[in-house]
Symmetry: C2
Subunit: 570 residues, 2 copies
């Protein structure tokens, strides 16, 4: 510690949040006698050596890491924590139902715990296929464990973090384990587990486990007791459930809010959405180092077999052609060298390979998008666009956009732009609404960088346009690249931004046509009213100048009106 640092420390008093006064009093009393006795002031930072540093190096468990960095997972504060926990549980419930091809019926119940201001029990029940008992501890009390990470297929969950993180947050803040009730077969009894994560090891502990009753033939109910805060309005659980219902018309929701209200969103369609299938990685998306590792790890016995079996869109003849052109036909995948892998990688890049299959992702669809918007906004004009699939880093994705304009009978009046509301932007990823971090993601960037003046709206530089307008953007992908584990915004991949812009521009062009038409109609009405206002005095003036009879004047004015209205010139 330098002399300067030490002096600085002595001058410091401590601000300690709400306990400030108490702390300062305590400090005044305690400091004089104690500082010498405990010798804190003389405590010095000791120079480390390579050896002393080596003794301190150790493993960090992923659960310790996220417990400390809980804001990365969406547990920044009690209100957001409650929303995040609901979101993770509902995402899992919907994924499970859809994988089992079951029309989802979801019940979300949030109850405040008696005698606690800030403690809630959250329960999410689904009618999915249920969970095999042995898997419950790992699924609910172990981070980075799941079935969705290693496959390429559109789903809401993808990381194997969310629900265990929600359980961990509950455990840290209340000490209570996660409770799971599940039944996998209508002829078998349900079971009940209490599980909790051991954060220092990222391993589950089972506290309690027994048979029980369950109201559904198959399904799962998960309960988490946690610190939280319930507030309605923007970014609330209520808003999340409403938007989820909007993006998932095939789901029936019942939501019991902590304030005693119950909200029901009955199913709007009995048709399951497009059910995606799993695909293999596409060779264009694989980098050299990854290709090298995949070759050395493959079960394929020859290089062509490796290409054919481990990738999509590489037929047997094509795989032989690639290996032949790279002069690697006789190389065993397990023995491949980095130099050989580089040759292979280069050859793949130069070979024409069909784009990846797209039955791994399903768009909402142009019609459904507009129906979804109609459910929340009563507007004069709607437009939507589902783009063709595109690819970033080998992952197929589809962008969709839809807009609603002129709600509540308002229309854009370019005379007082500043009084127009800012556009409402709704972002959806794999059918899950995103409520936080709007301005940090690719959707915001794409919309802000679109020139909305071209479409008849006013827009400040770097801002969303103004107008009575809702814009919804959906990305569907086998892997949505979020900017953080809390899945709040989409990372700035150029391919994704390009596609969002194209989708938004298409909607924008349709809107522009509509707005221009509206304006033309308005102007013509204005012109007609001019004609009606000014023609009679003109008639009188002409009568005087040309000494016409009344009937002649009437005739002339009538002709004049016809000509003016036809020519549309004033």
């Amino acid at each position: 510690m330098s002399a300067k640092g030490s002096a600085a420390k002595e001058q410091m008093n401590f601000n300690f949040g709400s306990e400030e006064t108490a702390v300062e009093q305590q400090q005044d009393v305690a400091q004089k006698p104690k500082t010498k006795r405990r010798g804190r002031k003389s405590k010095q930072s000791v120079a480390a050596t390579a050896e002393s540093m080596a003794t301190k190096q150790r493993d960090i468990s992923i659960s310790e890491f996220f417990a400390k960095n809980r804001h990365l997972l969406g547990f920044d504060n009690p209100r957001k924590a409650l929303l995040t926990a609901v979101k993770e549980a509902v995402d899992n419930a919907l994924d499970a139902c859809e994988e089992g091809h079951i029309l989802p019926s979801i019940r979300v119940t949030i109850e405040q715990v008696e005698n606690y201001d800030n403690r809630f029990v959250l329960k999410v029940t689904d009618n999915g296929p249920g969970i095999v008992k042995k898997q419950v501890p790992n699924i609910f009390a172990r981070l980075l464990y799941g079935s969705k990470f290693h496959r390429l297929k559109m789903s809401r969950g993808q990381q194997g973090i969310g629900i265990s993180a929600a359980g961990m947050y509950g455990l840290i803040t209340t000490g209570e384990p996660v409770q799971v009730v599940s039944r996998t077969n209508k002829n078998k009894p349900a079971y009940h587990c209490h599980v909790q994560i051991d954060t220092s090891k990222n391993r589950p502990d089972i506290v309690y486990d027994e048979e029980c009753d369950f109201e559904l033939p198959t399904g799962t109910a998960v309960s988490i007791t946690m610190e939280g805060r319930y507030l309605r309005g923007k970014q609330s659980v209520d808003e999340y459930i409403e938007q989820t219902a909007m993006a998932n018309p095939h789901v029936s929701f019942v939501y019991n809010a902590p304030d005693g209200n119950t909200y029901e969103f009955p199913r709007k369609t009995d048709e399951l959405p497009f059910m995606p299938v799993e695909i293999k990685p596409h060779p264009y998306g694989v980098e050299l180092g990854m290709l090298y590792k995949m070759a050395r790890d493959t079960k394929g016995k020859s290089l062509p077999e490796f290409l054919n079996k481990d990738f999509s869109r590489v037929s047997k003849p094509l795989s032989r052609k690639i290996c032949k052109n790279a002069k690697l036909l006789s190389v065993k995948p397990s023995k491949i060298t980095l130099q050989q892998a580089e040759k292979l990688h280069k050859e793949i890049g130069q070979t024409k390979i069909m784009a990846p299959p797209t039955d791994c992702i399903g768009p909402i669809g142009e019609e459904n998008l507009i129906e979804g918007l109609e459910r929340v906004v009563d507007a004069d004009f709607y437009a939507s666009c589902t783009r063709k699939p595109a690819v970033y880093r080998g992952n197929p994705f589809i962008i969709e956009a839809a807009l609603a304009y002129g709600f509540k009978g308002e229309t854009d009046d370019s005379d007082d732009d500043d009084k127009q509301p800012i556009m409402q932007l709704k972002r959806i990823a794999n059918r899950v609404p995103l409520l936080y971090q709007q301005s940090a993601g690719a959707v915001f960037k794409s919309v802000v960088e679109t020139n909305w003046r071209n479409y008849g709206l006013s827009q400040s530089k770097g801002a969303l346009p103004r107008g009575p307008l809702v814009l919804m953007v959906h990305i569907a992908s086998v892997w949505v690249p979020f900017t953080s584990e809390s899945k709040e915004a989409i990372a700035h991949y150029p391919e994704i931004i390009k596609e969002i812009k194209l989708a938004v521009q298409e909607c924008g062009r349709k809107l522009g046509t509509h707005i221009r038409k509206q304006r033309r109609i308005k102007q013509e009405l204005k012109k007609q009213s001019y004609i009606k206002t000014y023609l009679p005095p003109i008639g009188e003036a002409l009568q005087e100048i040309l000494s016409l009879k009344d009937s002649e004047v009437e005739d002339l004015v009538g002709k004049l009106a016809d000509v003016l209205e036809k020519s549309r010139k004033f």
Copy 2:
């Protein structure tokens, strides 16, 4: 697969980036005969059961997770990847030197690999204490391994991810391992290791290892071969090194850029900065679930011993007092129940406990902040503020702010605000400059929410103020809560935002006084020029009206000027 989804799929053609044309051609040729043969269209999503889903559940290694989510670590694109790798290597080098109480001398060399447009070798050499050979594989080729995560002490690195992630990115993109040369003792030879991460297991492989020469008595050199892109300007390696030199005047930098230029930043001071010491967690920052777990895991034999040994600021008498008040004196920590832990937690919250010690963090200091700014901006006015330490979630932190105003001789002219530049904001965390995600973090939010009109600047709603102004904000903490693992922006903790605002406001008030003074001087000069311009004609007029002599007029005008200048009224 629904009929609808299937039909939609058939209409889709694939956009496939730069390979678009090639792919489409291939598709045209390939699609007709192949679709039937391979039967892709009839491939259906099969309904899953609890049992079939269970077979697919598995562990995800943290390195697989980050390889797929590389943008979370700052490897979004080749240019940023190069910067991130340099940053991680330099952060580690500086931390190592300072822990060894050695004045850091750092050399950064980036060379383009021959015959490759986008491949670079990055090498960072330091004169730190070196690394014990056994630790090299874990430090450089294993995520979540390190010495900094489990302690409470200010340092640049804190997660045990960065340098291994940089090595992993190099491996994925080029297949090349990380090379490390290190020497821990001037009497011993140096050694040379090639290490690489096994991403599917998050474990290191050692490829190569032997003795070698090294130019320094102790120190480490790390080389990474990686895909990258070198571009000067904003958010470049150059900018990062310049800003790091600014925030670390005790470091000597030599930087060999890929374009052949060499930049040197000689040491500005031979004094090491404040050397922080490690502290224990403060009881106020520990949540119920965490307290419960800590009690059950403690080495302390009694509850008071647990409180005294595992926390800071809990003396032996205080620990006994807390346990006595909670009626838990006889409870063994290893046997504590959740209900008892809750009692203890409540009692801690109601007890006055001294704020945590602050020798775990060291501010840059008000003088050094201004010196740092002077190195990059030649301004008319400087102000700085180092706040007292504060606490979020039990972690002490200090906020500092400094500003420079009116550079290049310009001053604010409120008549044409729109021509003023936007404020330049520089964010530093534990002496590391942050170059990305400016608008996503707590610093931006705090600065934007500060009312700069109060200080004489113009500012649009939700935007940075305008003016010839640089503002630097530094947060020093034992644990900086970043919004992502790439450590680009600081999370929105209310306590942190409050402190940033207070620091910025203090600088703002000083600036306001300066700007108002400047304006007053300007206005007075203007008034004086009015007086000088208009008095002679007034004199003439008075002479005419009152028929005065020339000398009387002169006298009168002189008195009038005196009175006007004194009264400052016009």
